[in-house]
Symmetry: C2
């Protein structure tokens, strides 16, 4: 297997982009990444998107976007793994470059979730749950994560305030990210008094509905060295699955797919969790980030709540989690999220993260998750 580097990244402002179609959002973002990479040639494209079929009535997406970008007849693949579609796209792009089949691969994630005619966003997102065992009974994701939160509070004494602390931290970080959908701070009081969505989760515990895209350009390490430009190596990739129905899990409070994916990615990179300087993780709900810090091994089982309260995962803490603002503040265009995590990792390792820079960061880990953890994709990035 060849070593793989990221030589270009691109991301545009996320939000409710009423005036932009899916292909426009993709094009603008992909062009930024290609410009950043400074390459003319693109051999192949991989696009992560959860549900353009339901959101905008468009499948056959990768060909459409290859055409829109003016790149036909290059090969173009769309991959889907619910909200970890972006992470999966990065992994497939990595494999394609590693294999030697393609040299320069554009990896993008995109989702158009607002101003759509296809169907209601909550229904479309609900198709990441088990339709026969969960969706059929009316369960949607706020409800599923609320059950996980209640179980975590019951089992480990996690408090309502600790959940809020995740939102406060991520909005603090996101307030320094000009591309974030909600680049402002929130207080614990604001979170715990915000509108109830699914007890105990309130609106400020939830990541938003977002239009957006993110893109990176990959190539073999030796080619990256020849460019003379800064680049970042993908040192490890790991992916794992779990039951997508919560009812089939042994433990509602544990994300086994994240544990397995992280162990694989770290093993491939030859690193331990303490070697990592920053983490971009899948905080689709505040409880998710608490459970992810446990599954990654940043803290012991059940200790995610106290950890965020004590500042362990804040900027300046031992394990900075979500310097970008995370899904909570940055937004969550589901197919784009995993690629955006890679964009942040690369910016941090190139020292270009501005006000939210983790000083001296040389190694980063991204964790992208589908559903309630039915799939997880983890990557380890290292500065060269």
């Amino acid at each position: 297997m060849r070593d793989v580097a990221v030589i270009g990244v691109g991301m545009t402002k996320w939000g409710e982009l009423w005036e932009k179609s899916l292909r426009t959002i993709f094009d603008e973002t992909a062009l930024l990444a290609i410009e950043d990479a400074g390459v003319e040639r693109i051999d192949s494209m991989v696009v992560g998107c959860m549900s353009s079929g339901l959101f905008v009535g468009q499948e056959h997406l990768a060909s459409l976007l290859a055409d829109s970008l003016g790149r036909i007849p290059i090969p173009a693949a769309r991959v889907e793994s619910a909200c970890s579609s972006g992470g999966l796209a990065l992994r497939q792009g990595f494999i394609e470059v590693a294999s030697g089949l393609s040299d320069v691969v554009l990896v993008a994630g995109v989702e158009k979730m607002t101003d759509v005619t296809g169907c209601e966003a909550t229904y479309a997102l609900g198709t990441a749950a088990d339709q026969e065992y969960e969706g059929y009974h009316g369960l949607t994701f706020p409800g599923l994560y609320a059950m996980m939160a209640v179980a975590h509070m019951h089992q480990y004494g996690t408090t309502r305030e600790q959940l809020a602390r995740v939102a406060v931290k991520n909005h603090e970080n996101g307030s320094k990210n000009p591309l974030a959908q909600f680049p402002f701070k929130v207080t614990v009081d604001a979170v715990v008094n915000s509108v109830l969505v699914a007890d105990p989760l309130r609106i400020l515990d939830c990541s938003p509905i977002t239009d957006g895209a993110a893109a990176v350009v990959l190539c073999p390490l030796d080619l990256a060295r020849k460019t003379g430009k800064p680049f970042v190596r993908i040192a490890g990739t790991g992916q794992a699955t779990d039951t997508i129905a919560l009812s089939s899990r042994k433990d509602l409070t544990w994300l086994e797919s994240t544990r397995v994916a992280a162990q694989k990615a770290l093993a491939m990179a030859g690193r331990k969790i303490d070697d990592i300087h920053l983490f971009e993780v899948h905080d689709c709900f505040t409880i998710a980030e608490i459970m992810i810090t446990e599954a990654l091994g940043l803290v012991g089982k059940g200790r995610g709540g106290p950890a965020v309260e004590e500042g362990l995962t804040s900027m300046g803490g031992k394990y900075p989690v979500n310097p970008s603002g995370g899904l909570k503040a940055k937004g969550h265009p589901v197919g784009a999220t995993g690629v955006a995590q890679a964009v942040e990792a690369v910016k941090q390792l190139r020292g270009e993260a501005g006000e939210r820079q983790v000083k001296g960061a040389k190694r980063a880990l991204t964790q992208n998750m589908g559903g309630t953890g039915g799939s997880s994709v983890v990557h380890v990035f290292e500065a060269e």
Copy 2:
């Protein structure tokens, strides 16, 4: 890149499987392929499916199926390229084994299109066209292919009877395939007098709506040799894109993505088209097969009609096309079709195709297509 072999194949009876859900259809088929391969271990899964989101309200499909098959926590990726999703899955599985990341990869294609609650099949299939440039104006696939047929008839004098000859040939072949949805013969008269769908295409020019799955097991060539069982090598893979909107094409009668994909796959295999002993191609409509034989270079531009009339593409002809019965007789569960083509290629090259065996076949080519040719995936298989 490592050489890659197919060591197991599986396919179940296709049709309107009212009593079986998507996961049941997948499980039964995947288990056949695993049993055929004689392996215990599966390192990873790739699933091709066009639109489980629209058909059955289920995204996050690969994780669901990994769980259903009892294989969590292995990595599982779903890929989509409209009706070439199956071919794309095979290609991604090939790349994963070639890269060295995984040794034993299960590749499956599946689609549940009948007895569904999500939406109407014609709407779901229509999302393989350009939603903004085609779907919005009411175009569906019979209409798009009808325009291609009219253009081909006008430009090259292709006749109504020549179109019918494709259906007659493929049903003749399909009558010998017990797994086909419609394993019976049809006559030219029956085709040209069948119900009009979109002039000049009649119902017997169209592939059907089908529930079904197909699966193959891939591994490195050296591992395949150690099993002591028959196997087939994937000698070449090619994928290409084109504009998905017909209105953006230079020529309505030419499938450029098929030409490019075939050239790439043949070049990788170090073969010419005349080295191939049988072809499984994407006859979603009779006109499609005529255009594909031209794009593959079996005949000159505009000569596809006379070729089928003269028996060039019949069993016993110079270029046997669709010995399995093709999409026309076998059925077309869109995400499964590309993998089913590989299943037929492998059965033929192992000499296990029964009554429809192409005698002495050592090399086969599969061509799987999305939309009206917005994407094409071609593979070359060789017996060892």
